[in-house]
């Protein structure tokens, strides 16, 4: 385990950032037809207890002999015993993970990158906008906010999924809403008979909400087009460019700004992000094929 950051919140376990440590799958939760959440325990007790992550950070998850994928951490940052990755099985590595069972071993490197800037948002309203698997890196943020609920104003999650059966963490989200801890607006691209919520794109949900732009911090994570349109729409509602935070996804090979794959204009998504303020990436944001 390693984190190549000069940040106090991150524990630097040793000097081998390119070498994974092993972790065991202790639980597999079905989320949807092609998405599961894997609860992992780092095998080495010393590394396990030293491991800390910030909401929004990611690990490089290694499958023996197959390869690595950059996957955000989706569990509660206060849990020092276990961590979780919600994984959609789409590529060679994630499909290999789909074949794994409880008790199997994975490799982990991380945590890498800069997460959601929670400390800069105290006292403010929080609007989280997630699309599809983009909810995974937002969930640790929700845990962190709810753990100190009194430090924040209104907390809203807008979540768009493909269909009702594709929505992640449904029971947990409903429980938080029912407890009155946060507002929840969910829409789906297409519906089934049992669905009585809105159908459409997640950006339509923004129109249902009266936000206080000068007091609101926004956290966005979803597909590229969703990120783009949500960001533009919120700018039009006068949310400050330095209070709009977007988590980006890129191909990554190293996690530490060395392999070059994740470049996004002048930024390395792995070490400068994956969470960026709109302000910091506006030079290239919304431009095609950057």
């Amino acid at each position: 385990m390693i984190a190549v950051q000069d940040r106090a919140s991150v524990v630097c376990h040793d000097s081998r950032p390119m070498v994974p440590v092993t972790a065991t799958i202790v639980e597999i939760q079905e989320e949807s037809s092609n998405t599961r959440t894997y609860v992992l325990q780092i095998d080495d007790p010393a590394l396990r207890s030293a491991y800390r992550f910030e909401p929004g950070q990611f690990n490089m998850v290694y499958v023996f002999g197959v390869g690595e994928a950059a996957i955000s951490i989706s569990s509660d940052p206060a849990n020092n015993e276990y961590l979780a990755h919600t994984i959609r099985h789409v590529g060679s590595v994630t499909r290999a993970i789909a074949r794994m069972k409880v008790g199997d071993k994975l490799g982990l490197r991380g945590p890498f990158g800069h997460g959601w800037p929670i400390s800069r948002c105290r006292g403010r309203d929080i609007l989280m906008v997630a699309g599809g698997i983009g909810l995974a890196p937002i969930r640790p943020l929700i845990y962190a906010i709810l753990a100190n609920r009194g430090q924040f104003g209104r907390v809203v999650l807008m979540y768009g999924g493909r269909s009702p059966s594709d929505l992640l963490y449904q029971k947990e989200l409903a429980a938080w809403r029912d407890d009155g801890q946060m507002d929840l607006l969910v829409s789906v691209d297409y519906s089934i008979a049992q669905w009585d919520g809105p159908v459409g794109v997640v950006t339509d949900l923004i129109k249902r909400l009266r936000i206080r732009p000068d007091r609101t911090s926004v956290m966005v994570c979803g597909p590229r087009m969703m990120n783009r349109h949500v960001t533009w729409q919120l700018l039009r509602l006068r949310v400050a460019p330095d209070q709009l935070f977007i988590s980006l996804e890129r191909n990554m090979r190293c996690g530490v700004g060395r392999c070059g794959h994740c470049q996004y204009g002048p930024k390395f998504v792995c070490k400068d992000g994956p969470v960026f303020s709109y302000e910091s990436i506006r030079e290239v944001f919304g431009k095609e094929e950057i």
Binding site: W232, R250, R253, Q263, K267
Partner: protein, 384 residues
């Protein structure tokens, strides 16, 4: 120039330099003639150098020719660069092994063979600049111990370019032709003799063992004139003033499509570039899935796979890939590492199969841009 601490040694002394370096445990790497090009490989003596050869370079063309003057270093660089020794094109990252199936714990070893102590012979000013750029990019022990160790051990026997190549533009990038930093000894060919400058204590210790004499006033003047002339005879020029800003404003220019209509996306420019640092990793196992390895290879932002994400690639169009490469080199590198990513060596021009010239293409963006393709804007996308 009168105070220039220039010494003169006769040509055979170079063999003594090589011998002394070898006695000190160095592996000598220098220019050799292979497959009709200058390639850096292990040398033992003066006789291994391509004495009497010169090169003719242009966009998409390279020719090594017999020269009338039998100079030791009468050519500039070929496709090869010292990057190949400091950051090898292919290297094992780690091996993993386990005794049984997926439930068995696995061990990972990242045993590394230390790099040899290299003495690089004939390093040009632009190449020293390239190494100093790589130092900023991959110089940390944490990111690449091999690079750091190779870099710390290396001995640099530099050579001043008195005959720049047809695609050279080091003067524009302020990296040459004169070697001014990060060398141990620097040679300048003055007829049958070498002018020698000393750049380090290691260099001085070696130099003390040579037969030399101080340069005369005439030789110092000759040295000055040769380098001045070399500066004036650059094959190419790139106006760098304000260039990053010009390019930043051109991200959506249709010129990228015009370049892409010629670009083959072959990646040659990235392979020959002495500062391109991207790599890919490839994992494999034995048939029983008990032993696995990860290898690191040079990668190129010109491949479709480089930006693979989900079902497709971010940079699908060749224009986007060329833009990534040039914007990175000439604009975004400044943000990332506080320097340009280009040293003006001209390799990317010479080795581009269709002769795309970075100096011409970058300058093109200074001209009044043709009408832009209209991109989506927040206003259009979000009607009130």
């Amino acid at each position: 120039m009168d105070k220039l601490p220039l010494h003169i040694v006769r040509r055979p002394e170079l063999d003594r330099v090589f011998g002394l370096l070898r006695d000190n445990g160095y592996t000598l790497i220098g220019p050799t003639r292979r497959d009709g090009v200058i390639q850096y490989s292990e040398i033992r003596s003066l006789a291994d150098l391509p004495v009497g050869y010169s090169d003719r370079q242009g966009p998409g063309s390279y020719e090594l020719v017999k020269s009338e003057t039998p100079r030791c270093f009468g050519f500039v660089h070929g496709a090869d660069s010292w990057k190949r020794f400091l950051f090898p094109p292919k290297r094992r990252v780690f091996g993993a092994s386990r005794q049984a199936g997926p439930q068995a714990p696995f061990d990972i070893d990242d045993l590394r063979s230390p790099p040899p102590a290299y003495a690089f012979v004939g390093v040009r000013a632009c190449e020293i600049a390239a190494i100093s750029i790589l130092d900023r990019v991959i110089g940390s022990e944490l990111l690449d111990p091999y690079y750091r160790q190779a870099r710390d051990k290396m001995f640099v026997l530099a050579v001043n370019c008195i005959e720049p190549g047809g695609t050279c533009f080091c003067v524009s990038m302020n990296t040459g032709p004169r070697v001014t930093r990060s060398f141990d000894l620097c040679l300048t060919e003055l007829g049958e003799e070498f002018g020698v400058e000393i750049g380090s204590e290691r260099g001085a210790a070696l130099f003390k063992q040579l037969t030399s004499r101080p340069a005369t006033a005439a030789e110092k003047e000759l040295f000055r004139l040769l380098l001045e002339r070399a500066s004036e005879r650059m094959g190419r020029h790139l106006e760098t003033e304000g260039l990053p800003e010009v390019l930043r404003k051109s991200v959506e220019s249709p010129r990228w499509q015009a370049i892409a209509s010629r670009c083959l996306a072959c990646g040659n420019c990235t392979m020959v570039c002495p500062t391109c640092f991207c790599y890919n990793v490839v994992d494999s196992t034995d048939l029983k899935c008990r032993k696995a390895e990860r290898w690191r290879y040079w990668d190129s932002c010109f491949t479709l796979e480089f930006s693979y994400l989900g079902p497709t690639s971010v940079r699908y169009e060749i224009s986007s890939r060329y833009r990534q490469w040039m914007m990175h080199k000439l604009a975004w590198w400044h943000d990332q590492f506080g320097t340009s990513g280009c040293v003006g060596c001209g390799r990317c021009i010479t080795w581009c199969p269709v002769g795309i010239d970075i100096t011409a293409e970058a300058s093109g963006f200074r001209e009044t841009a043709p009408p832009r393709a209209v991109p989506a804007t927040p206003q259009q996308a979000m009607p009130s």
